[in-house]
């Protein structure tokens, strides 16, 4: 899958967890999920579970540590879907 295809599927997942005062327009490749998009860090595990469901993949504990911004998520998804 291309980054663009992945982003199209990833964006609605992230949007679900945005605080009410953050617009979906602010989601771009470099957005730090917790610091910039202000997503509650507890929701990172929910984002991971949603990604697993949408892309039919499974993350390991180590993978989760690498997840900071949207681009990290895309790279991880690419890695997992090409395995």
């Amino acid at each position: 899958m291309t980054s663009k295809e992945i982003f199209a599927l990833l964006e609605p997942i992230i949007k679900t967890y945005l605080p009410e005062d953050v617009s979906a327009k602010e989601i771009n490749l470099d957005s730090d999920l917790t610091r910039e998009l202000n997503i509650n860090s507890a929701h990172l595990v929910d984002i991971i579970l949603d990604i697993e469901d949408v892309f039919s993949i499974e993350f390991k504990n180590e993978d989760m540590e690498k997840l900071r911004n949207v681009n990290d998520a895309i790279l991880l998804i690419q890695q997992k879907t090409s395995d």
């Binding site: 009410e20 595990v45 929910d46 579970l49």
Partner: protein
């Protein structure tokens, strides 16, 4: 010098009415919230009736965001949030804004028997399936006992004590008295107190197994023998939440708030599971002592009580409760105060019973009426030897009330009694 404490806001989520207005109409007319549940029949419950508030999806969204409702599966927390936020709004208080400091003078004591039992079930299935990682982030918040107070704390921005008490069916009355102490001792200005109970088979099953619920009315939910009736042979399990915003009299007067009632005092004690008391049965001596202590704390004499909102569950223990009130107050027959029980309309709402019933008591005191006892035409013979049947009205009575008592008793031999006065 202790501060005087008043109630300036109410909220209620009851099987026979959600919101103070709907609930007030319901209790005036003796409207029942007891329904038949095919699910309970399919699960082989002896009692296939229950009391469950009706909450639309739209209503949920007035209180919680889409994100908060995602994977949300805790009926008790939902009821508690609705009742609690309604009480705050009724008192005309605002939550702290997101960019403001917490409300340091506002605390919460909101109890439950157990939290999020449906959510817990979901989690247990996943864990047993070796899939603990799939629980997601909100399993803990919905299953911890303090889930309801924690949700309310976040929605309101409470900065004083935020906690959840638990004392079985006395939880709501105990919460009120704990909040009262907090304000009376000058530690908080506002305390949002109340209690909640989950709905459904996983919370009601244990009571069904103990045979303390009724199995006789599955085909006729409108005819369940009410508390104090000769036919009462067990309760119908219920659920919901009740909430009250407690405030110092000083503060309420300063901001010109509507004052529903003053909390004159109250008492909480335990029968120690000694004498006739046990895990499941009350020690009558302790109940009498609790009522007497409450009167003493309120600094009133027993003769001043106009009305009692009983615990009265529609079991064989009802006559004992009447006897304990009669002995504690030293009042009998025509001298006994009016008494009623909400459980005939909504069932036994367990951990939420005390709080829903306190809300019903405060409404009666404020509006000047006594709601009818439902399905109680034929009183238990022992009760009629103790008190005059006129005191257990099956019709709505319009009368001005001044001083009233509410007691709740629960498993673990816990007792709580509160005294309220019109102001």
């Amino acid at each position: 010098m202790k501060k005087r404490v008043v109630i300036t806001g109410l909220g209620v989520v009851s099987p026979n009415g959600v919101g103070v207005q709907e609930f007030t109409e319901a209790i005036k007319f003796g409207k029942s919230g007891i329904r038949f549940f095919p699910e309970l029949r399919d699960l082989n419950f002896s009692c296939q009736l229950g009391g469950m508030p009706i909450i639309s999806e739209e209503k949920k969204r007035e209180y919680l965001s889409e994100l908060q409702l995602r994977n949300f599966n805790s009926s008790g927390i939902l009821y508690g949030i609705i009742a609690g936020m309604d009480a705050l709004k009724d008192a005309q208080l605002q939550p702290a804004k997101n960019d403001e400091e917490p409300l340091w003078d506002l605390g919460i004591i909101f109890g439950s028997g157990t939290s999020g039992v449906e959510k817990f079930r979901e989690a247990i299935y996943k864990i047993d399936d070796k899939n603990v990682r799939r629980l997601g982030s909100n399993s803990v918040a919905q299953t911890m006992t303090s889930g309801v107070s924690a949700y309310l704390g976040g929605l309101i921005g409470a900065g004083n004590m935020v906690t959840a008490n638990s004392s079985a069916c006395a939880t709501g009355t105990e919460a009120l008295l704990m909040g009262y102490e907090q304000i009376a001792n000058g530690k908080a200005t506002y305390m949002l107190c109340g209690s909640t109970s989950d709905s459904g088979p996983y919370i009601w099953g244990g009571f069904d197994a103990m045979k303390v619920t009724t199995y006789k009315y599955n085909d006729s939910p409108d005819e369940v023998a009410g508390p104090m009736s000769a036919e009462a042979n067990g309760f119908v399990p219920g659920s919901g939440a009740g909430a009250y915003l407690l405030e110092s009299l000083e503060s309420a007067q300063k901001r010109n708030a509507t004052i529903y009632a003053e909390i004159l005092g109250g008492a909480v004690n335990n029968g120690g599971q000694r004498g006739e008391g046990s895990m499941t049965a009350p020690n009558g001596v302790a109940i009498q002592k609790c009522i007497k202590n409450a009167l003493q704390s309120a600094n009133i004499s027993a003769s001043e009580i106009d009305y009692i909102n009983g615990h009265l569950t529609a079991t064989i223990k009802d006559p004992d409760e009447i006897e304990n009130w009669s002995l504690a107050l030293d009042r009998k027959r025509v001298d006994f105060p009016y008494i009623n029980s909400l459980k005939g309309m909504v069932g036994h709402c367990l951990a939420a019973s005390g709080s829903i019933e306190i809300v019903s008591s405060i409404i009666q005191l404020h509006k000047g009426f006594i709601f009818p006892n439902v399905n109680c035409e034929n009183l238990h013979p022992k009760i009629t030897t103790l008190i005059s049947s006129d005191k257990i009205s099956t019709k709505l009575i319009k009368t001005s009330l001044q001083t009233i008592a509410k007691a709740s008793f629960g498993f673990g031999d816990v007792n709580a009694c509160a005294i309220f006065k019109k102001i």
